[in-house]
């Protein structure tokens, strides 16, 4: 499985969700898998994407919200797992794409334990680990929310589309998609 296939599984599981993607691989993979749809792609603010998704989930409790996060992103913003466990938005799924590397900065090792599902369970969040596209799709669809899905992939191929998005365009398209 490569990151684009992982995100494609999420899109199949939640075709009507509002997606937020963190800087780097997550944004490139969501652009590749979702035909560059009107999602909220982070061009920067590493470590903030889960908090951003929590804000979206708070404003749109009627919509499922999926946060697609890198593993480096998730350790940088690890406190947001505690915030997720405290606020407990019933419509938010956090997905961590785990390859053990900081891809956007050149592929350096993560250097710390990649134990996102274990931490989430300790925080009393529903959590699971997927190692295949089929598992990723099924667990993304069935996991109780708020929940965290760790997707482990082995093919570290760069998805393709640039992660350096045109911010005002992204914001305007997302606002239109998120507003009834």
């Amino acid at each position: 499985m490569n990151p684009t296939q992982a995100v494609a599984a999420l899109l199949r599981a939640h075709p009507d969700a509002l997606f937020v993607a963190s800087l780097g691989t997550a944004t490139s993979a969501l652009r590749a898998a979702g035909d560059d749809g009107p999602h909220l792609y982070m061009g920067g603010s590493m470590g903030s994407a889960l908090a951003v998704a929590m804000g979206v989930a708070e404003k749109r409790p009627d919509r499922p919200v999926v946060a697609v996060l890198g593993d480096g992103e998730s350790v940088m913003g690890a406190g947001s797992l505690w915030s997720l466990a405290g606020v407990r938005p019933a419509n938010l799924l956090a997905v961590v794409l785990v390859d053990g590397h900081y891809t956007i900065t050149g592929g350096q090792p993560l250097g710390v334990p990649a134990v996102f599902a274990e931490v989430a369970r300790t925080l009393d969040l529903a959590a699971d680990v997927a190692g295949s596209e089929a598992d990723a799709e099924r667990l993304a669809r069935d996991l109780r929310l708020p929940g965290l899905l760790e997707i482990r992939y082995d093919q570290r191929t760069w998805p393709g589309p640039s992660p350096f998005v045109d911010a005002p365009v992204v914001r305007a398209r997302f606002e239109a998609a998120a507003t009834p």
């Binding site: 979206v56 606020v87 005002p168």
Partner: protein
Amino acid sequence: MTEATGSTWQVELARALAEGGVEAAAWVPDKRLAPVAEALSALSVPVRTLTREEECVGWAAGYRAAGGTPLVLMQCSGLGNSLNAIGSLVLPYGLGFPLILSMRGALGERNPAQMALGRTAVPMLELLGIQAFRLRRPQDAAMLARGALGVADGARELAPIVLEPELDMAG
């Protein structure tokens, strides 16, 4: 301690923000901001406690991007924790919202550790091109709240309301 029916500047500020359309707020707890948060809750504005100020900025950016009107409350030292989220998310994406900044490290401060961020909070905002609106007199609270909401909603810019120490020194 404070009731929504009272007339402290904290309550006036919260009421003007709620009446002006603020739907939800995020904060990292702070003693001076607590009466504002309590007043917001009393006015049925949910106040979310997050672990770090940078998260509050991200949360508000998402809330705003989804079409809402959020509010963030933080101590000025938390501005230091938030700079990257402001610089690489709020500013480029044009996601304006009011930000209540409670000043430490200013007139009357007794903790040496607070001074540097107190001295530099507003200059840092200015370097980022963000205009800060300073609240010094209790009677100006509602006016500043309405004005900041106009800047956030209309001009789509981050609108800091800076709570100066003089607010609590007057009469």
